[in-house]
C-alpha cells in the first residue's frame, strides 16, 4: 500500500501481515503446476482425433499459474487483501480461533455421526454445538431448537420431498423412514 498509514499504526503488524498475503498465490501456483504436471498423465485414447482430454486441463493449469503470478506481483506492489464485508462481520476484529475450532469440531461430529446415529440426531448435535459456540446460552435452548429443526427437516425431506436421509436408531419410527 503506497499511501500513508494511519498515524497510530505501528509498522510491525503491517510487516507481520504480509506473508499470509503470499500464502494464497503460493497455493495457487502449486495447484497450477500440479494441474500442468498431472494433465500430462491423463490417458489419451487412440481414437481421439483432434483435441483430447488434456488440452483444457493444460489451459486451466496455465491460467492458475498466470493468476498466481499476477496476484503475487500485485502483493509485491503493495496490493493488500480486502476482507469481505458482511452484516454480521466485524472486519476489524482478529480471528477468533477458539470459536472456529469449536465450529469445526461440531462439523466433524456431524460427519462422524450422520450415518450411525441418523440425520435427526447428528443435525441436533451440529446445530446445538454451533449455536452454543457462537454464544447461545444456556446450552439446553440451542439443543432443543436444533432438535425441532432437525426433526422437521428430516420429515419434510424424507416424507414430503422424497429425498433420502439416514434415520439411524429412529429407523422404523413412523414419519422417520
Amino acid at each position: 500500500m503506497t499511501h500513508a498509514l494511519p498515524e497510530q499504526a505501528p509498522a510491525a503488524p503491517e510487516r507481520a501481515r504480509v506473508w499470509p498475503e503470499y500464502a494464497f498465490p503460493a497455493g495457487l501456483l502449486a495447484l497450477g503446476v500440479f494441474t500442468l504436471v498431472d494433465a500430462a498423465t491423463i490417458a489419451v485414447p487412440v481414437s481421439t482425433n483432434t483435441v483430447g482430454p488434456r488440452v483444457f486441463p493444460y489451459a486451466v493449469g496455465a491460467l492458475l499459474v498466470l493468476a498466481a503470478v499476477l496476484v503475487g506481483l500485485g502483493v509485491r506492489r503493495g496490493e493488500r487483501a480486502e476482507i469481505e464485508d458482511g452484516e454480521d462481520v466485524d472486519t476489524t476484529a482478529a480471528t477468533d480461533w477458539p470459536t472456529v475450532a469449536k465450529v469445526a469440531a461440531a462439523f466433524i461430529a456431524l460427519v462422524v455421526l450422520v450415518e450411525p446415529a441418523g440425520f435427526p440426531i447428528a443435525a441436533t448435535v451440529l446445530f446445538g454445538a454451533v449455536a452454543w459456540s457462537l454464544g447461545a446460552r444456556p446450552l439446553l435452548r440451542p439443543v432443543l431448537v436444533g432438535a425441532l429443526i432437525a426433526v422437521t427437516l428430516h420429515v419434510l425431506f424424507t416424507q414430503v420431498l422424497g429425498v433420502f436421509l439416514p434415520a439411524g436408531p429412529l429407523e422404523g419410527v413412523p414419519g422417520f423412514g
Partner: protein, 552 residues
C-alpha cells in the same frame, strides 16, 4: 406475433394452483434469504438442487426464479433497516435508505424500494419477454466456435468485474475451473484429477462446491469475527409514501430500469454496477443535491429499481445462450443441467412449455413480492432480529443437509468441510466467490464446445477466431474491457465521493452507544492489510478519502 400466444399459454400453465404454490414458496424463501444476512439467493438455490432429483422441472424453475427475484426485494429491507449492507448490490440503497429510516421515514423508504422493485421487475420482465425469443432465434445460427467466444467473454468479464481486483478474480475463476475438471471426461471417459478416489470419478457435485464456499465458508468467516451484541434494527416509522414521495420516485424507478436491464444482460458484474450507475444518475439529475447523503428518496428508488431490472436482464443470456453472468444464474444453469435440459438457443423450441411458464411466473412472482414486501414488512423485520448464533447454526445445518441429500455419502460432507475452509480463506484474503462458482459450472460446458469446434475445424485453431461472429465478439470484448474499466473507475470514484460524504454525518446516534463498531467503514471494504488489529474502533472520520482513491 406468436410469442404473445405462447406467453398466454405460459400464464395458463403457471396459474395452476400447484405452480402458484411453488411460486409463493420461492418468493417467500427468496425474500427471507434476501433479508437474512449470511445467505443469498445463489446459496439457497444451490441448497435446493437436490430437489431436482424428485421435483418436475417446471415447478423447480418457478421456485428458483422466485428465489432469485425475492432475494433482490429482501436485500433492500436489510440495507434500509440495518446499516451494515453485506451484499454489494444493496450498499447504495443503504446510503439514502438508512438515513431515511433514522430520520423516521423508514416506511417511505421501504415502500419506494418495494414499489420500485415491482415496477422495474415488471417492465424488465416485459423486456425479457420481447428480447429473449429474438435473441434465441438469432443464436440458433451460432457455431460451437462462436459459443467458445461468448464463454471466453463471460469468463473474463466475470473474473474482472466481480470483486476488487481482476487478478484475484482470475485466480478465483481458475480455482472453479479446476474443480470443474475433477471427474470423468465426458467425451473420452478418462478420469482426470480424481486422485484415485472412486467418489470423485463422477466429479464434485455443484451443490457441494457452491454450498461449501458460500454457506460453510460464510459461517466460518462469521464465526471467526462475529459482531457481538444485539442486532440494531431501526424501527419502521413514518407514513407510507406521500404524494410528494411518489412524484419524486417514479422517474427514478424508470431511469433505474433503463440502466439496470441492459447492464444485467452484459456480463459487467450484474447488479452492483447498475446500482452505482443509477445512484450517480439520480444525484446528477436531482434538483435537491443537498439532500443526497441525508436521505433523498430518489437515491433509494433508482438503485432498487436498477437492481431488480438487472436481475431480469441476467436471465436473457442465461436462457438464450446458456451463459450465466451471476452466481445465482450459474447455479440455476446447474439445475438445468441436472434435468438434462440445455439452456441456449434451442430452449425456446424444445421446451416451450417450461420456458413460457417460467416467464409467466416471473410476472406472477413480482405481484406476490409486492404484497409480501409492503403490508407484511413487519414480519421480515422480525426475521432480521433472529439471534445470530441460531441463524448461522441453521445455515450450517441446511448446508450439511443439502450436501448429504444430493449423493447420500459422507465423502460429500468431508469435501463440503474442505471447500468451506477454501471459501473462508477466499473471504479473508479478498478473493471473490462468484467467479469460482461460474467457472465450476460453465467450465465443463465451455470445454465441450471448444472440443466440438476443434473437431469441426479438424484441429485448426484459427477457426476459433475466423468466424465473423467470433471475430466481432472478441473485438467487442476488447471494447467492453475499455468500457468496464471506465465504469469501474466511475464506481470507485463515486463510492469514494458518496461514502466520503457519508463519513461526515454522525450516523451512530440512533444506535445503542458502545455497541456499534465501525458502522461507516462497513459500507466500504477496508484495506485490512493496513488496518492494524489494535485499531479496533476508528471514529467515523478516520478513513481518509484518498485511501480509497488510490487503492483501485
Amino acid at each position: 406475433m406468436g410469442d404473445i400466444g405462447l406467453l398466454m399459454d405460459g400464464f395458463a400453465n403457471a396459474l395452476q394452483p400447484i405452480y402458484l404454490v411453488y411460486a409463493l414458496i420461492g418468493v417467500t424463501l427468496g425474500t427471507a434469504v434476501g433479508v437474512l444476512p449470511g445467505i443469498g439467493p445463489a446459496m439457497t438455490v444451490a441448497l435446493l438442487l437436490p430437489l431436482t432429483l424428485t421435483l418436475e422441472p417446471t415447478a423447480a424453475f418457478i421456485m428458483f426464479a422466485g428465489i432469485y427475484y425475492g432475494g433482490m426485494y429482501g436485500g433492500s429491507t436489510t440495507s434500509i433497516l440495518l446499516n451494515t449492507p453485506g451484499e454489494s448490490a444493496s450498499i447504495v440503497t443503504a446510503l439514502e435508505g438508512n438515513r431515511m429510516a433514522k430520520a423516521g421515514r423508514g416506511a417511505a423508504a421501504l415502500a419506494t424500494a418495494a414499489v420500485g422493485s415491482f415496477v422495474a421487475g415488471t417492465i424488465a420482465t416485459m423486456l425479457l419477454t420481447l428480447v429473449a425469443p429474438t435473441v434465441a432465434r438469432l443464436a440458433v445460427q451460432l457455431s460451437p466456435a462462436d459459443f467458445v467466444a461468448l464463454m471466453v467473454v463471460a469468463f473474463l468479464t466475470v473474473a474482472a468485474m466481480l470483486g476488487t481486483s481482476p487478478s484475484r478474480g482470475l485466480a478465483s475463476l481458475g480455482l472453479g475451473l479446476f474443480l470443474g475438471l475433477v471427474g470423468t471426461d465426458s467425451l473420452t471417459a478418462q478420469q482426470r484429477f480424481t486422485f484415485g478416489i472412486p467418489a470423485l470419478a463422477d466429479g464434485i457435485e455443484v451443490v457441494v462446491v457452491a454450498v461449501g464456499v458460500f454457506a460453510v465458508g460464510e459461517t466460518l468467516f462469521v464465526a471467526a469475527r462475529l459482531r457481538r451484541g444485539p442486532v440494531p434494527v431501526i424501527p419502521v416509522s413514518g407514513s407510507w409514501m406521500t404524494r410528494e414521495d411518489f412524484r419524486r420516485s417514479w422517474p427514478a424507478w424508470l431511469r433505474g430500469t433503463a440502466i439496470g436491464f441492459p447492464v444485467g444482460t452484459i456480463p459487467a458484474g450484474g447488479a452492483d454496477v447498475s446500482t452505482f450507475l443509477s445512484y450517480s444518475a439520480e444525484r446528477k439529475l436531482s434538483k435537491r443535491k443537498s439532500e443526497f447523503g441525508k436521505g433523498a428518496i430518489e437515491g433509494v428508488a433508482g438503485p432498487e429499481a436498477a437492481n431488480n431490472a438487472a436481475a431480469a436482464g441476467v436471465l436473457v443470456p442465461l436462457l438464450t445462450l446458456g451463459i450465466p453472468t451471476s452466481a445465482t444464474a450459474a447455479v440455476i444453469l446447474a439445475a438445468f443441467n441436472s434435468y438434462g435440459i440445455r439452456p441456449g438457443p434451442l430452449l425456446f423450441e424444445n421446451e416451450p412449455e417450461l420456458i413460457w411458464a417460467l416467464i409467466a411466473s416471473l410476472y406472477i412472482g413480482n405481484v406476490m413480492l409486492l404484497v409480501l414486501n409492503l403490508p407484511l414488512v413487519g414480519l421480515w423485520v422480525r426475521l432480521l432480529q433472529i439471534p445470530r448464533p441460531y441463524l448461522y447454526a441453521g445455515i450450517l445445518t441446511f448446508a450439511a443437509l443439502g450436501s448429504y441429500a444430493v449423493g447420500a455419502s459422507t465423502t460429500d460432507l468431508v469435501l463440503l468441510g474442505l471447500l468451506g475452509l477454501l471459501g473462508w480463506a477466499m473471504r479473508v484474503f479478498g478473493y471473490p466467490i462468484a467467479p469460482a462458482v461460474i467457472g465450476l459450472i460453465l467450465g465443463p460446458i465451455a470445454e465441450e464446445q471448444f472440443r466440438r469446434a476443434m473437431q469441426i475445424s479438424q484441429g485448426d485453431p484459427t477457426a476459433l477466431v475466423t468466424s465473423p461472429f467470433a471475430a466481432i465478439t472478441y473485438s467487442v470484448l476488447i471494447g467492453l474491457f475499455a468500457l468496464s474499466w471506465w465504469l469501474r473507475r466511475r464506481q470507485s470514484r463515486l463510492a469514494a465521493e458518496v461514502l466520503g460524504d457519508d463519513d461526515v454525518v454522525p450516523a451512530t446516534e440512533a444506535l445503542p452507544a458502545g455497541e456499534v463498531v465501525d458502522r461507516e467503514g462497513s459500507g466500504e471494504p477496508q484495506p485490512t492489510g493496513v488496518l492494524p488489529v489494535a485499531l479496533l474502533d476508528p471514529p467515523a472520520g478516520t478513513t481518509p478519502d484518498d485511501e480509497r482513491g488510490d487503492r483501485r
